[in-house]
């Protein structure tokens, strides 16, 4: 990818001194005690139990580990692409948050702390994609859990605190998994550095890798850990945008991409099938939701599992598909969440069923929502290119492992389900009555700037990908950009306007969306199946 060439001169390779290591250990323990105290304060036993489990495991690790020699911070091509995503997408969202938080009813100090935590979080993310030391990775992972906890409970009402504690204990399961990975890595391979681990890995004992992948599943909210992400949507919208769609949850496919060259074929097929299963499951679950941010959250879960599934396949084309999907999904989802925040703050609309029509009062927001949905499913945008590459890569890998045809089938069906999900929402947004006029939309400046930055990134990114030929990119782009051009130029002055046809009846038509609710027992069996799958992962790790 051409972006990497821009950052080619930036090579970080740094080793911490011994005292820095000690400071990090100390801060880690302080953090874990803070989590335990939070669980104790709010009487959540799971949080306290998991925090103490982590303290015990961390102590065991410190006891077992002698002095190690290795590079602590190492940047490779993958981390450079992640820098681009974190800083540009995260930066736009922080700009947006400056205006958003002003309209919340809190004191100045609390508002400042919001922005401070967001920027601190961006710093943690930049470090986490550069971390080569798995212990440092664990510390930064727990720091992101802390940021998530603090930001979800920002509004300090009962719902927020409950959801924040649920996010806390589920993410701590991921922390436990990373600690188990550390311990097995020390005991069996005698190293705690990613690059050294990938070199000495034996295909018959992949437990460190498996535990890290389980931590990725927790962070990426696959089944059965999906509830924390859905509950986290009560947080302010910039939090949902940064943490829970564009940046923090991207750690999941990032880790799988980092580790995937070392998977054995059996582990690779297992992860691919699990990711595909969650992709279809999450898309099906989203078909009956009403809360707009919850729909976006479920589609995030679905696409993250697709990224994990593609990254695990191992071939060069599949990894490229996963990477392109990662970058463009971050931009598109951030754009969509920003529009959801605008709908919430300026038009006071949270649920889709409350929306009457947006063409008259919010044409700009509507256009960005349409572009956001189109960029996740339609040509020429990045997510479409990644699906294209993925289908080709899966066909090739299917010839070696025929059972992966189910991954291909899930990819295709899940993509169509996502198209249906996104475009059925348009029912409520787009339906305009006869004889109405559009009005100009007034938005605060920073809302406009942040949306414009992300939109420009989406469109320019199309040209930076050198997979499709220029003609193939231009045809759909011209067709999509004909929409506003034709709308402005053609207004059909000499055709008389009439109202809609209703068989001559005088009733009023209330627009509704169709919903598809999954049977409860199918949902339960999906959750059980996912737990069984996780256990199978552990078995595969020792085969």
């Amino acid at each position: 990818m051409q972006i990497v060439n821009i950052l080619a001169d930036l090579n970080i390779s740094y080793t911490f001194s011994h005292s820095t290591h000690l400071v990090i250990c100390l801060l880690d323990l302080v953090l874990l005690f803070y989590f335990a105290w939070q669980g104790f304060k709010h009487k959540q036993n799971r949080v306290t139990f998991l925090a103490f489990t982590q303290i015990v495991l961390y102590g065991a690790f410190l006891y077992l580990s002698p002095r190690f020699q290795g590079v602590d911070l190492l940047s490779d091509e993958l981390s450079k692409i992640m820098y681009f995503v974190i800083n540009i997408v995260g930066g736009s969202i922080v700009l947006y948050a400056l205006t958003y938080i002003n309209s919340e009813p809190f004191e100045k100090a609390k508002k400042f702390s919001f922005i401070a935590i967001l920027i601190f979080f961006l710093g943690v993310m930049n470090l986490i994609v550069t971390a080569n030391n798995i212990e440092l990775f664990f510390f930064l992972f727990e720091l992101t859990t802390l940021c998530s906890y603090l930001l979800i409970r920002y509004r300090e009402d009962d719902v927020a605190i409950e959801n924040a504690l649920r996010a806390l204990w589920m993410n701590q399961v991921g922390g436990v998994a990373i600690l188990l990975a550390l311990i097995t890595s020390v005991v069996y391979y005698n190293t705690i550095y990613f690059d050294q681990l990938l070199e000495v890995l034996d295909p018959h004992f992949l437990l460190p890798v498996v535990f890290l992948v389980i931590a990725a599943y927790v962070k990426g909210a696959s089944f059965p850990f999906h509830n924390w992400l859905l509950g986290a949507m009560v947080a302010p919208t910039p939090v949902s945008a940064i943490l829970h769609s564009a940046t923090m949850v991207k750690i999941a496919p990032f880790i799988v991409l980092k580790l995937s060259p070392s998977f054995s074929p059996l582990l690779s097929t297992t992860i691919a099938m699990f990711g595909a299963f969650v992709f279809v499951g999450a898309s099906l679950m989203a078909l009956n939701r009403d809360f707009f941010k919850e729909i976006l959250g479920l589609s995030t879960i679905a696409l993250l599992s697709l990224m994990i599934s593609l990254a695990a396949l191992g071939s060069e084309q599949a990894r490229e598909a996963a990477l392109i999907l990662l970058v463009f999904h971050a931009i598109s989802k951030a754009l969509l969440f920003l529009q959801a925040g605008i709908l919430e703050k300026i038009y006071h609309l949270k649920n889709i069923s409350e929306i009457d029509t947006l063409t008259n009062r919010a044409p700009r927001t509507l256009f960005f929502i349409l572009i956001g949905f189109a960029s996740l499913t339609l040509p020429p945008f990045g997510a479409f290119v990644s699906k294209f590459l993925a289908i080709e890569a899966l066909t090739k890998s299917m010839l070696k492992t025929p059972v992966e045809v189910f991954v291909l089938l899930s990819l295709i069906i899940g993509s169509v389900l996502l198209v249906i999900l996104y475009f059925k929402i348009i029912t409520k947004l787009l339906s305009t009555r006869a004889f109405t006029q559009a009005s100009k939309e007034k938005l605060p400046l920073l809302y406009k700037i942040s949306s414009n930055i992300l939109f420009t990134a989406l469109v320019l990114g199309v040209f930076l990908l050198n997979f499709l030929s220029t003609l193939e990119v231009l045809i759909p782009l011209v067709l999509i950009f004909l929409i506003p051009v034709l709308l402005k130029r053609m207004d059909f002055k000499d055709a008389p306007r009439v109202k809609e046809y209703n068989c001559g009846e005088k009733g009023v038509f209330e627009v509704g969306m169709f919903n598809y609710t999954l049977n409860k027992k199918y949902l339960k069996s999906m959750i059980y199946l996912s737990v069984v799958f996780m256990a199978w992962h552990l078995v595969v790790g020792v085969l």
Binding site: P496, V498, Y501, C503, G504, E505
Partner: protein, 176 residues
């Protein structure tokens, strides 16, 4: 240049509306669309949509509930359009003439071009009526029609159509 008007009679799309009839004429219309009498060889399609049809086939003497819908469907059809009144009830009221519950035919409410009598109207007559209607259609313009004065309408003092009264009970001495 290219005389588009002659193509109007090669593709007549009909809209069929039942304004309170006994369904006898409706059955005959459907029979004329069936293989024995085959209206489709003239290019006729039975669209259910006024915005896409040229010919308005109405059956039935107009009952109170069907008056508003009759006029609404008529106004939703784009010009040029032709109205065919099928069956004796639609032309003059037929066997229900002078009854308390019907308006005697549609020509009190919309301008009619062709009257096809019969009770029920036979398919051969329907085809005849349709062919005559096509010749009338060819000569119509695309302009939206001016308001016409039909048979005496029941209006109040400001000249607004009074939908609660029947057109039959209009006082002939009243100014309308």
């Amino acid at each position: 240049m290219f005389n588009l008007k002659k193509y109007r009679k090669k593709s007549p799309w009909i809209l069929h509306y039942n304004a309170g009839s006994c369904n006898g004429c409706d059955i005959e219309i459907l029979a004329s669309l069936s293989p024995k009498y085959d209206l489709e060889r003239f290019g006729v399609i039975n669209t259910g949509n006024p915005k896409q049809s040229d010919i308005f086939l109405v059956t039935g003497p107009v009952t109170y509930r069907s008056r508003e819908r009759l006029i609404e469907l008529y106004t939703q059809m784009p010009t040029p359009k032709v109205v065919i009144a099928l069956g004796s009830c639609t032309c003059t009221g037929g066997v229900f003439r002078d009854m308390y519950n019907v308006e005697d035919g549609i020509d009190r409410y919309i301008p009619v071009d062709i009257y096809v009598p019969g009770c029920a109207v036979t398919p051969e007559l329907i085809i005849d009526g349709l062919i005559k209607a096509l010749e009338i259609l060819e000569n119509k313009t695309k302009e939206i029609e001016d308001a016409k004065k039909l048979y005496a309408q029941p209006t109040d003092k400001e000249g607004v159509l009074d939908l609660t009264k029947s057109a039959l009970k209009v006082d002939k001495n009243e100014k309308s």
